[in-house]
Amino acid sequence: MLVEGIKSRPVYTGLSIQPRARRHIFALEGEGAHALLDRKPALDDTALSRSEILYVARGSQGKGNDEALRALGTDMFFAAPTIATLLFRLRGTLTTAHMGTRLYIAGTEGFIGQAMMVALDHGMDHASIVTEHRGSLARRVQCVHCKGVTEDVTHSPFSCGHCGLPLLVRDHYSRRLGAFQGVNIDAEEPGSAPDPEELFL
């Protein structure tokens, strides 16, 4: 379960299929595949004929899911080798999309954030995008000092991958950056940072 009570963090309400959508685009990462596979009963022939799946396995956690997703029989299926290539394809799809197209994103929070940023760039309202968190609780964190983003942060404090400052991961999330905020933990007394704790696994 994700920590609750963070006002700025989006609520990932689950991949409910919008029955009236003219086109469904599913952006799925790793275990996020199950968010859609679990909804198989809600996907009738009409929905399948209007659906496009963009999937990235990301390491071993998503093994075998691409076959299962392909077997759903959606109109289009694309297995991307990396998140970057998936996002590139998503951009292309949204550029020519019409109103009535609904976007569904499932996977880790960092992935949801990045796919959401692409959708916002195409004029979609974040509240209209359907999301579900699946997989690791690792956080995508932006260092507030050097602005560098570190992926898959599981510990706090952690060392910024860009400037090296020890960062506390604040419970403050930016949808626009798709990241939590990392702030130097020992600024007031350099060298006083506590040992890292594994908090987001």
Binding site: R20, H98, G100, G123, A127, S128
Partner: protein, 321 residues
């Protein structure tokens, strides 16, 4: 006054525009410029009908950046409670009146990649100012305007002349020409926002068609000016001021409370903005909620009521005022 500071104005022109529609031009009596406003905004016009003050909301239709005057268009409603009849029958050029500062409850979503405007009848008025602003700022828009008959369609030729037939399309009911809403909604680029203003049935129809076409509710905008509906007279007790106020057949609670000299907050007087939300201290009977502000749960709870459009039937209603 709780509705905000009023601006003293003089009626400098009254122009018949179409069947039962007149345009009124207001200039400031004190010679100062009118405040700028944003497309979609309305003002509350205060009408002094022999000591009885009526207040109606009207969309501003003059250019938002023209502060020499404000213009509104008023449809003479068939079963008018008095406001539009007063404007049509009593108001003459040279008359002194008062208008509120502009309030906008129908603001365009400025993020929109494209703005699809749908108007029915007098519902065209907020869009006239909006299109002026879109055009000046280079925003992409398209207007679809339904009228009942040619003689009732206000500003059709003006708008086509101004923005061209590609951007302004007229549909005349009498000629069996209807807005193909479903087809329109299926062909809009991602990031389009839709705005609809017109008769209640039309607004409901367009919004429903929008949801059925898979549009998210965030991209569907409407403005409905509800007017207070006539109904059975009733009395209300105001617990804080210790007064009893009688609400007549054609009166709203807000009007009756104002007539009794009690200051109650308001902004839109159309059940939309939430400003006149009032706590119910006791309700022995049934609240007739006519607003679009309170949620269904709030309405069912019977603990809040909007004074501007809602009514009451029953034995006793006590309000925290």
């Amino acid at each position: 006054m709780s509705g905000g500071t009023e601006i003293p104005v003089r009626v400098t022109r009254v122009t018949p525009v179409a069947h039962r529609i007149k345009r009124f031009r207001f200039e400031r009596s004190d010679g100062r410029p009118m405040p700028y406003f944003s497309g979609g905004a309305h003002v509350i016009v205060s009408m002094n009908d022999n000591g009885h003050v009526r207040r109606n909301a009207y969309s501003l239709m003059s250019a938002p950046y023209d502060c020499s005057a404000y213009e509104i268009s008023v449809l003479h409603v068939e079963d008018s409670r008095g406001g539009s009849s007063f404007m049509h029958e009593k108001v003459r050029e040279g008359d002194e009146m008062r208008v509120s500062h502009p309030v906008n409850l129908f603001q365009p979503d400025w993020r929109g990649r494209k703005h699809l405007l749908i108007a029915g009848g007098i519902g065209i008025t907020p869009f006239i100012a909006m299109m002026e602003q879109f055009s000046r700022e280079g925003a992409c828009f398209e207007m679809h305007y339904a009228i009942r008959t040619r003689d009732r369609g206000a500003y059709c030729e003006d708008l086509i002349a101004r923005y061209g037939p590609q951007r302004v399309k007229i549909y005349c009911d009498a000629e069996n020409d209807r807005i193909p809403v479903a087809r329109l909604l299926d062909s809009q680029p991602l990031g389009t926002h839709l705005y609809v203003c017109g008769p209640a049935g039309m607004i409901d129809g367009v919004l429903t068609t929008g949801l059925e076409a898979g549009w998210p509710e965030q991209n569907l905008h409407s403005e409905r000016f509800l007017s207070s509906q006539p109904g059975k007279p009733f009395s209300i007790e105001l617990t804080r001021s210790g007064r009893t106020v009688h609400v007549g057949h054609h009166e709203s609670m807000l009007e009756a409370i104002e007539a009794a000299g009690i200051d109650a907050p308001f902004l839109c007087r159309g059940g939309a903005c939430g400003q006149c939300e009032t706590m119910v201290a006791l309700c022995d009977g049934k609240l007739l909620h006519n607003d679009v502000y309170l949620t269904e749960e709030e309405k069912a709870s019977g603990r809040k009521v909007m004074l501007c459009v809602s009514r009451f039937e029953g034995k006793a209603l006590h309000l925290d005022l």
